[in-house]
Symmetry: D2
Subunit: 343 residues, 4 copies
């Protein structure tokens, strides 16, 4: 049994961690930190947790005593607070973007803020859990991937690893539910304006673009650029990423499908749909699954990969628990067996 603390307790990442960790047999949630709500019972902010008796606390790193701290915070928080914890031998899993990009200049271009010191970035393990090299002995800091990158990279990984696509051809048309925008108020996510409304946003400048490029460039061992366009869907949860790639060889739909089946054969959270079937976001709602469908236009040598996740689970808190399991040497499914909530 380990004790964990959660920073950013008034956000959606934190309450999703609480929801999921309830079922984790080896974890005790000990602290829930929130600067803005110190000493308030959690049920005042989140009545759905009325059966729990947590009170928000202030994070004073000197006083806390636990095994792991989760940061479910906006950017620019963990990079200041995590180092002191790590120094005390507390492991850190960061759900924000602060430690995801190893190139400081790229971070500063896309985030518009000062990057963490290079040494910290080098110590951080960016962990798409299915393709992770997290080591229970040595990993102290995990950079938990972003929601769009998770859905997208699980779809692109086999294609890049197999070197069967033209690296210059990747176009990612991604769609997310509104909870990805967090709990902070803004006009465009005001119910009356977001409801029955669909839009593209941040074209050409979304923070998750360099994150995707970094991962696939490293995997391919050469610099790759992508076109990445996020869209906002009038629903609360779910990401669907439609990926367009040019195949560099003639390949049948069946063959490409078999590649994906093989890559994800022993990955319990990735479910490859049958040929001709494409996943829908609701089919993973509330669960840690990533479901993938594959289409090949054999004549024109294009492939389309459709990948879905729940942005708050596999795209954030669920993968953060999967990464916790890797960090402690437990089976990756531990505490993550929730069946999708359907309908």
């Amino acid at each position: 049994m380990i004790d964990v603390g959660i920073v950013g307790g008034s956000g959606y990442g934190a309450i999703e961690l609480i929801r999921l960790l309830t079922h984790h047999p080896y974890v005790n949630v000990k602290y829930i930190f929130s600067h803005s709500k110190i000493d308030e019972p959690i049920k005042e902010t989140f009545p759905h947790l009325s059966h729990l008796t947590y009170q928000y606390e202030a994070l004073n790193s000197g006083d806390i005593n636990c095994d792991v701290v989760y940061f479910a915070t906006p950017s620019n928080v963990s990079k200041d607070l995590a180092p002191a914890l790590i120094e005390q031998n507390i492991k850190v899993i960061d759900l924000s973007g602060d430690f995801r990009l190893s190139n400081r200049t790229v971070y500063e271009t896309y985030y518009g803020e000062v990057a963490a010191p290079q040494q910290q970035l080098d110590n951080a393990n960016y962990s798409i859990a299915e393709w992770s090299d997290v080591n229970p002995q040595t990993t102290q800091l995990i950079a938990n991937p972003g929601c769009f990158p998770t859905a997208t990279l699980l779809g692109l990984h086999p294609l890049i690893d197999q070197q069967i696509i033209d690296y210059d051809s990747i176009i990612i048309d991604a769609k997310t539910g509104v909870s990805g925008a967090g709990r902070s108020l803004a006009q465009h996510v005001h119910f009356s304006e977001m409801n029955e409304n669909f839009s593209a946003y941040a074209i050409g400048k979304h923070k998750h673009k360099p994150e995707i490029e970094q991962y696939i460039s490293k995997l391919a061992n050469q610099e790759i650029k992508v076109i990445f366009t996020p869209h906002l869907v009038p629903m609360t949860r779910g990401i669907l990423s439609t990926m367009y790639v040019k195949l560099n060889q003639h390949v049948t739909g069946e063959y490409l499908h078999s590649i994906f089946k093989e890559y994800y054969e022993d990955k319990p959270f990735v479910r490859i749909r049958d040929v001709g079937v494409y996943p829908k976001t609701k089919e993973v709602y509330g669960s840690n699954f990533c479901d993938i469908g594959i289409y090949v236009d054999e004549e024109r040598q294009n492939a389309i990969i459709v990948s879905v996740i729940d942005n708050l689970v596999k795209g954030a808190s669920g993968q953060a628990i999967q990464n916790l399991n890797l960090m402690f040497g437990w089976h990756e499914k531990t505490g993550l067996t929730q069946t999708p909530v359907y309908p």
Copy 2:
């Protein structure tokens, strides 16, 4: 052709007035006022109006030259600004609550603010357009009714007027789409928390309760209290009011239905459903209709009246145009012939 100005130009009431007045043959929208957005083109705030070239202006009552001014403002604005306009012989139609309640104490209890002077309240004409005594010769100030009261009073009026119900028995269970909460940001109408969520609110203390009571008390010539519970529906537009009353005599469903048919025979915006059929909110979406269904439990002598409107049209801007028509002696349908948008 008359010129109108609209105060509160950055809110939903104003843009709905603009949408509807586009089709009004005798009206020119001359000014759109907004304190917070002076000199900004309207399309920056509302891109759906990109074909229009309005710029927001400051309201300086001395400088303006028009026939009517609409206030589509929060409470506590029109009561300060309307008198100067009226003095200049500009007619005023107020969509806020400032002039609706003739009893200052009641206003101050429910609104928590200082009421307008009694004389102004006495000059205001509270006008449910179907049962209005607005006079083109004399009416200078119209208090446009609230959204819940409009849906509810059109349902209750025949019952009270016919004196066939127990006045002590009235229970109003009302449900509204989220646009009724306006454009200001708030946590409970943040998309991710309002979507897929249904709730009751302001039980026992909603501002529309005394407005309903004032109207029916005056009609019945005795004080009547009601139980009124508003609910918030995860949709943008629409109000459905379910009214429960005890009949004071044996009455069949057919008979009560015939009463309603008679009362609304020559009222083009009120459509009475056939016996056994109840209206749905989407059946009036975007239009000025109020649709009503009637149920009688003959054995227990109870009746249930179901009434629906679009809260932004018949519940606000549409009725405000219908009232404009009355104020100028035009046919009440002028400019208001929009068919409901369905589906």
Copy 3:
């Protein structure tokens, strides 16, 4: 460890049982029956269950070997099939309405079908789990309550049991998400017509009206009639029941609140909100909770009770597992500790 079978495997009740039973430590789901889909893998109908390998089977009562069978079927199925199972000593929990009403005439009036034989009705235990007398030794057949009755009766029980209301005064204005209408296609739940639409339906003749009346009449030991109006909300899950009652004595809001706190003190699934706070449907989404808020108009001696549940969990499959726990003498929370999915 017990084995269970589920009849009606292509409906929402069945897949919700599967979702929840996944976490039950003493239950193995052995059979999933569906007449219309025999031998089909479940993932074809429900891709969200793609990680499961169930195939639909035909129910031939002679061949099956398990401890309990759930009926998650439309009405008029279990009354024909359950008796043969019970005879084989297989316990039955019926989620349909077939065994809920002990008066055959009432059943036939509201369901429009032939009722089960009186002896079977007498053997069935109608079990609102919080107030149940299910006996592990003797109960063979549980009639799992309907969704509206569950939300409503948990709110009315303390009021009736304390005899503090006028029995003639009960008005129930209930609102349900669309999943309550099941998986069968119909025009009014076609997405384009149900979305952004709110309506009342089945006024005066809904099947759940006599179910509510039967329970409270028995509790009060006298016949009680209610007014019950269901409404359909454009959302998938959730019921909110607003109950209006006349108090037969002067009672403060605090006092009535304390009564509810006391009644539900040791009931882990019922959470009473603080005075002045009312629950929202999303606060119980995906969980077995029933949350209740209480309002008293002290001047007029009326009370309003607001109760919310997830119609597919506490209103169907969740309570059916809670009842299974009672039937086998396990703690009622076993397998039902899911935290609400929020947002």
Copy 4:
């Protein structure tokens, strides 16, 4: 004043025609035809039209007497019925796909049905209204474009016409609201399964793919193939088409923007957003506008065009009225001045 008849009166296309034609000063809707509902009042199927007294009629081409007939029918209806009308000198505007594809083999591949005779196809005028050559003197039959093609072709037209893109590079990622699927019941558009769900469908085989290819191939005077992936959004109305193209020359964002401004300068229904601003579907809700935003990645020479329409208006019935105006030599805006319904 002309008389029109509408075939397919129980579908969404027909009621949208009725809604819009209400405001058309030169049109009288004389007949509404429906095989399945002969002699029924329209209000029984569509209570939102309760103020209208239409009854459905049978279409017997010999008996009818009007100037234009609209077909708002599924495919495979108009090709059988239109010729007899045209022979009687009744003009026809067909909202179905029957006359859109001039190549019979392509039609039969994508529609799975026998194509209309070649001569009829040759007589049909496929009319994207902004780029139409409809002639009031000679055009008898208009093939009204599909919803996805309309949104897409208005975005692609200037790019093709200017010859500034690589024709082999066009990828169209399109998203539609659910009303595009029509009024017929189907499991995937059942509210509980469509709500809060986002999906791709018909990948590689949607009927609108060859329609897009035919138009741009003709414009470019060479065969062009596109990649086209439609998606279904949990909302009722609206299409957003995201188009990815490779520029064949260095072009700035400002320059491409100016091209679009020029092309649509005198087209009242197409509104080009400012540089850096992208349109949202709700900004055209209920109106005949098509709004377009333009992005250029100058470094990599890619452009992204975002185009939105209301699928039932500009994507169907609205454009069908715009085409009617062209057919009769009226101003294209006649009867189509509806402002978008927002929020």
